[in-house]
């Protein structure tokens, strides 16, 4: 599924290797695989989105499988009544006996009775709803009329035939972008896009304040009122590397993309912030004075784990789209050796600033052919494999250490003060191995 990459790159038709003009990219061969994939669908991102946006509700229109997926991936750890649910399609819906529009209206009404404080209501389509061509866009329009602005309805696809894992968030944010208010402001303003932990958001806010970068907002915001405005003087900085569609929507609304590596590790965060400082014309000495202390702290925190990680090899199976920036962090700041780095799909526009920082001999794979890839893991015997939950224990049983990729989505890992935590996540399985006697 290369739609994200091809949308802005007509020279790159689907189904072929990516043609590139960047010198680094041409040097790195990209293996394309089109076989069995082991990756969550976009519905999974509801697990963190519904906690991040506190006045939003996510209604998946799908099957029992969708409901079971979300609760299994979330581990039912978060049993506080969630702000999501599934409207499970039944035989009578498929046979056309029950009018799906009426059914959706009825379910929405029931949810809103229980939760009168919901401001944004997402109708999320799934594999089955898309195969039967249920138009949730129509439903959102209809419901917007019925609720007359008291609740805002939006729709997006979280289906596994259209999206993988984090692409669900991309589609969700894209649907938000279309509704963001316009701003005519002549002053530069900055949107930081991608769900990050509240604590990290607050850290970044403080740094931008100290730098004198004003008008910073986050997408998604914690509630509807704080959602950003967008206009011709809006700049977009990505905190997560999976927001191709969201970015392109923002660009269509007049915003400009700040190309930067992602804020993983001391170096990543430094370059990420520096790219904003450049656009805002912040004097170099001021920039240095603001970031020197947290940067030094980040580097100090990293030293605890660098000796544990240095020289160790790592493979990423395609999963969250975080693979490339994390591989860059681990190779440059922790001196790990990259075996294979797999990603579900390449989105050149988004990942460009990262590609130049990867070692030239890295093996990159787009897409997956699960059993073949696992054969390569067995052959490569990396010291650590980053993979999905379904695969981790079987690899451990083959005496290969693993790191669950979903943990990277549920842990604050961006920014200076999380650089050490990020390294620790990868060091822990190795430390554990060295502690256990049998």
């Amino acid at each position: 599924m290369n739609t994200a990459a091809t949308a802005f790159n007509p020279a790159c038709p689907d189904n072929t290797s990516i043609k590139v003009d960047s010198p680094t990219l041409t040097e790195i061969p990209v293996r394309q695989e089109r076989g069995e994939r082991a990756v969550f669908c976009g519905l999974t991102s509801i697990i963190w989105l519904h906690r991040k946006i506190q006045d939003a509700f996510f209604l998946v229109v799908g099957s029992r499988t969708c409901a079971h997926l979300i609760q299994s991936a979330a581990g039912v750890m978060i049993f506080a009544e969630p702000r999501f649910a599934t409207a499970v399609l039944e035989d009578k819906d498929l046979a056309g006996i029950a009018d799906c529009n009426d059914e959706i209206d009825r379910v929405v009404e029931r949810v809103l009775q229980r939760r009168p404080n919901i401001k944004t209501f997402f109708l999320v389509s799934s594999c089955p709803s898309e195969v039967i061509k249920l138009d949730l866009g129509n439903s959102a329009q209809r419901l917007n009329k019925i609720y007359q602005g008291r609740v805002r309805f939006a729709d997006y696809s979280g289906s596994g035939i259209e999206t993988t894992f984090t692409q669900g968030e991309d589609n969700c944010l894209k649907s938000l972008v279309e509704e963001l208010p316009n701003t005519e402001s002549k002053e530069k303003n900055l949107i930081i896009a991608g769900t990050i932990a509240d604590v990290v958001e607050d850290q970044f806010k403080r740094i931008f304040e100290q730098l004198g970068v004003e008008n910073v907002s986050f997408l998604p915001a914690r509630n509807e009122e704080q959602m950003p405005k967008v206009g011709d003087n809006t700049y977009v900085l990505l905190a997560q590397p999976y927001l191709g569609e969201t970015t392109r929507s923002l660009l269509k609304r007049g915003a400009k993309l700040i190309q930067a590596p992602f804020p993983f590790g001391a170096e990543g965060t430094l370059e990420w912030l520096r790219s904003v400082a450049k656009v805002w014309d912040i004097p170099e000495d001021k920039f240095e004075s603001v970031i020197s202390i947290p940067l030094a702290r980040a580097r100090r925190a990293l030293t605890h784990y660098q000796d544990k990680l240095a020289g160790k090899s790592i493979t990423f199976l395609p999963d969250s789209q975080l693979e490339i920036p994390l591989a860059r962090f681990l190779s440059r700041e922790c001196e790990m050796k990259l075996k294979e780095v797999g990603v579900p799909f390449f989105d050149r526009q988004i990942i460009e600033a990262e590609m130049n920082l990867l070692p030239a001999d890295v093996t990159l794979t787009e897409g997956q052919s699960l059993d073949d890839q696992l054969d390569r893991v067995r052959e490569d015997k990396p010291d650590l494999t980053v993979c999905g939950l379904g695969i981790a224990n079987p690899l451990e049983a083959e005496d290969l250490r693993t790191k669950w990729s979903i943990e990277l989505m549920f842990t604050p890992i961006q920014g200076f003060d999380q650089a050490g935590d990020l390294a620790e996540l990868f060091a822990r399985p190795l430390i554990r191995e060295s502690r256990l006697e049998c």
Partner: protein, 521 residues
Amino acid sequence: MQLTVWTYEGPPHVGAMRVATSLKDVHFLLHAPQGDTYADLLFTMIERQNKRPPVTYTTFQARDLGSDTAKLVTDAIQKTYQRFKPDVMLVGDSCTAELLQDQPGTLAEGAGLPVPVVPLELSAYSRKENWGASETFYHLVRALLIHQKEQSGDKEEGIDKLEFKKPKANLLGPSVLGFRCRDDVVEVTSLLRAIGVEVNVIAPLNASPEDLLRIPEADFNICLYPEIAATTCAWLERTFKQPYVKTIPIGVGATADFLREVGQLAGIDVEEYIQNNSSRLPWYSKSVDSTYLTGKRVFIFADATHATAAARIAKFELGFDVVGIGSYSREQARDVRKVAKELSLDALITDDHLEVEKAISELRPELVLGTQMERHIAKRLGVACAVISTPAHVQDYPARYSPQMGFEGANVIFDSWVHPLMMGLEEHLLGMFREDFEFNDSAAPSHLAAEGTLSNQPEEDIAKNTNQEIVWDLEAERELRKIPFFVRGKARRNTEKFALDSGLDSISLDTLYEAKAHFSR
């Protein structure tokens, strides 16, 4: 459309995966989009399986829909067979693929594989996990054995009957992701061995297709888990004249009944064995320490097998009061309703956990026996809970031997149901010295201190007036708060009901005690 927050059962293809993963040398080709691959983690994370489930997903995407998803299936069938070389291939589709009507089963049957192919129709939009497991097991067994039926002669003939042979039984139903199936199989096998019955085949757990072919060699079947094996057992009875044992040996009484039923089919007198072997449960339950268990209000919600077994144990073996019982197993609802009726209750048959939560908060039991859903509900309401059934979480697949079935299972049940409760004298002291600043009812039972406080539930929730027309005067309200919180809600409701029935519109201190005398608790 059914509004669902959490679900008790997965979709039917997850049931099929449970059967495939339980078996050896079987591979399941599932026509499904990539998101459906999440199901692997149920096996590898919740039950800590050290192998990937033997399942290959076609993981079709939107762009494949425009071309030919059937081609994708045909290719996957060949590739999957070549890689895994299973003895039997199961082929089916998940909810989305069902809509595409590619008929992967038919395609696989026509693919010319050198091994049996069993096509599965899983009805994703009307059925659920246990049904899917049951259908898969039945169709697999049937596909392998249907030819034997044609060849098999009269079982009564032959040399076998002339010499003394131990009666043989199959244990049918245990599977991966079942509740304590791993240990129940060991326990039941040793129980049967002790009375002289040999276990022929255990399936689907760890059985190979070759083992399944030996099923007809047994004299009878034991249906250990009707949710998965009842259909198969009934077919085997019709086809091979194999009767089957229906009692589930969970609890002391049920284990004895089970042994008697087995004894009858096997022609063995089991009474002496039952006399000489039992669980510690009866004595533990009789010992004075257990008097505080008397009349504890218990709410049960589980699959049908474990719910009905729990009711019998709770009432007759531990002396609890069962105040509510229910199940998410619609297919076995009749059994649960029958047990509920015997307890003068209405069974709650639902797969909506919000309804279960409502029932629990209204009944305000002192112990909930349920699934992981009920554990969460009970935690929120500050009620003690033990998990007795799937769906269960990783901590309910313990490292130690902890069966539910047989006499040892009864020991395990006694321990795990009593453990969450406040101990007898501790409960008395709480009632007497409620105002002690360190030892009060918001403290957890002392042996559970590490698990945090019990009453993380907001006071208003239990102390809410259930009836707006009745006013509590200040003195009565204060007195009510001296009652330990786990019975306070009930005391409030009883008192209000008493006041209403007596035509009062306010409650005084006296009314509170009048009500106490009236309800005598």
